[in-house]
Amino acid sequence: MSSRQAQNGHDREAVIRIRGLVNGFGNKVLHDHIDLDVYRGEVLGVVGGSGAGKSVLLRSIIGLNPPQEGSVEVFGKPTSEEIESPAMRELEMRWGVLFQEGALFSSQTVAENIQVPMREYTSMSQALMDEIAEIKLAMVGLPCETGDKYPSELSGGMKKRAGLARALALDPELLFLDEPTAGLDPISANQFDELIAQLQKILGLTVFLVTHDIDTLRAVTDRIAVLVNQKLVVGTIDELRKNKDPWIQDYFSGVRGRAALASMDTQETR
C-alpha cells in the first residue's frame, strides 16, 4: 500500500472532482454540499449506513442521477450532460462500472456481454474480441467455458466476476464498484478483494469502491470516505479510528470492525 501512496504523492491529478454536491429525495437530504477529490491511481472506499446515499453518490458521479446542486467532474469534464450524449460517451469509454448484481444482459452470453463495449467503441475483428473476452475472463478468475454460459446459469459470485470482466473490457482508467463483495461468502469475498488489489496494481487503475465490508476496506483501499450526517469524512483507516463522530466510532470499533482491524494490527506487527 505504501508504494501506491508514494506513487500518489508526486502525481496528485484528481480524476474525480466533486464540489458542493447536493442530492435528496423529497424532503430528505442525502448529500449536503459534499466535496471530494479522487486522485489518479488510488483506491477510495466509500462507506455509510444503509440508505445513507452511497449508491446515489456513485450514480451522481457517472451521470445516472443528475445532482440537484453542485458539480461533478470526471477527467476534468462535467458529467451532468445528457447520459447518452457524445460528450458523455467520451467519458463512458474511459470508465468501467460494476453494478451491485452484476447487471449482465440476460439475453446474451457472458462472452457477448464482455464484447458489448468493444463492439461499441472499437472495430476489432470477432476473433480478436473472442480472444480478449477470454483473457478478461481469466483475469477475473473465471474458466473460459463460462463465456458460453448465460447469466441465469451463473452463481451470484460468478455474476459479479463476469460483471467485473465486462467493466474491464476496454481497459478503463477508472473503475466504479458498487458493493462488489456483498452477498459473497468470506472466501469468495477475500478472493475478490485480492483480485481487485491485483488488477489495480497491474493495470494502474483508479478505483471508486462502495462497500459495507470492512475487510475489503482494509485489504484494498488507500483512503476511505465515510458518508455520515449528509457529509463526507475522508481519511485513512488510522485517521478515521481517531475520529470522534459516534457513527464512525461505532463502525470501526464495533465487534465486526474490531475483529477485522485486529487482524490488520497483527499483520502489521509481524
Binding site: R89, T122, S125, I135, C144, S152
Partner: protein
Amino acid sequence: MTSLENTAEPQAWFKLDRDTNKLAVGGAWTIAESARLDKELGALKLDGAPVSIDASKISRLDSAGAWLLLRTRRALQAPDAKAGDLQLPELYRPLLENLDQPRKSEPHKSRIPPGFRGRLYKMGRTTVHTYFQALSMLGYLGRVTVETIEAFARPKHNLRIAAIFHQIEETGINALPIVGLLSFLIGMVIAYQGITQLKQFGAEYLTIDGLGIITLREMGVLMTSIIIAGRSGSAFTAQIGTMRVNQEIDAMQAMGLNTVDTLVLPRIIGLVVSLPLLTLYADFMGLMGGAMMCYFDLGTTLPAFLRELQQALHVQTLMVGLVKAPVFAFVIALVGCYEGFQVERNAASVGLLTTRSVVESVFLVIVLDAAFSVMFSVLGI
C-alpha cells in the same frame, strides 16, 4: 460516432528486421490500436527461424495490447522460449506475466450434427419436448382438479373468498369497457357486411337473423375469450412469474402454504364466474352495435329489430354460446397459471412465458371452439 480509435495518441508500431531476426515494438499498445495491430500482425510471415522481440520502447500497455504481444510471441518464437527473452519495461512485466498462464481451452463441439441429420435431430427434440410439456400440463390439470374438489369439500379452510372476489373484479368488472366497446364494434361490422351482401338478393332483413345467431353462438364468446386471454391470462402468468423471480413462491412453499389454493384456485374460480357474465354482456353489446348499423342502413327501429330477433332466436341459441364460456375460462386461467409457475429466475423468462401463455390459450380456445362445433353438429343442436 464516438470511438476509442480516433483519440490522438502516439501510434503503436512494430518493425521486423529480417537480418537479425529481431522484432522491435514500440508506442502505445492499447485497445485503441488493437484492431489495426491485429490486422498488420496477422500479415507478418515467419520463415521458421525463431524471432526475438524487443519491446523496450513501449510507452503504454494495457491488457489488450499485452495479449497481442503475447500472441505474437507465441507465433514467432519457439515453443520452449522463456519469458525473459522478451525485453519489456519493468512497469509492464506483471501485466504480461499475469496473462501468460497456460490455459487449456478445448474447442467445444456443438451437439447438433450438421445437415439433414441436424434437422432430424431438431425435429425429434421438439417433438419430445412438446410431448413432455403436454404431459406436464396434463399433470397440472389433474392436480388442480383434485385440489379444486378438496377445496369445495372443505370450503371454509381452502377457499379464499376475498381473493376470489378480487379476481372477479380484476378480470370481470375491470374488463367491461374494453369487452363492451370491441363487441359493439364487431356487431356493427358484421351487420354492415351482412346488409351489403344480402341486399343483392333483396334479403337484407335476414341480416338481423344472421347477426343474432353469429353473435350469440360464436362471436360473443370467442371475442370475449380472446380479449380475456390477452388481458387476464397474460396477467396471471406475469404475476405468478414475477413472484417466482422474487422467490415469493419459494417463501410461500417454505411456510407450508398451498400454492394452488392461494394463487391458482382464486384465479380459476374468479375467471370461471366472470367470463360467462362478460360473454352475456358482450352478446348484448354486439346486438346493440348491429342494431345501430341496421337503423342507419336499413332504417329498422329498435323495436322492429328486436321483434325480428325474437323470431330468429331461441333460448337455446344463447345457451349454446354461454355453455362454452366456463370451459374457455378454465383453460385460459389454467394455462396462465401453469406458465407462470414455469418461469425461471431471470427477467427474460417472464416475458417469454407470458407470450407463450397468450399464444397457447388463444390456440386452445379456438381448437375447443371447433370441437364444440363438431359436437353440436353431431348432437344436432
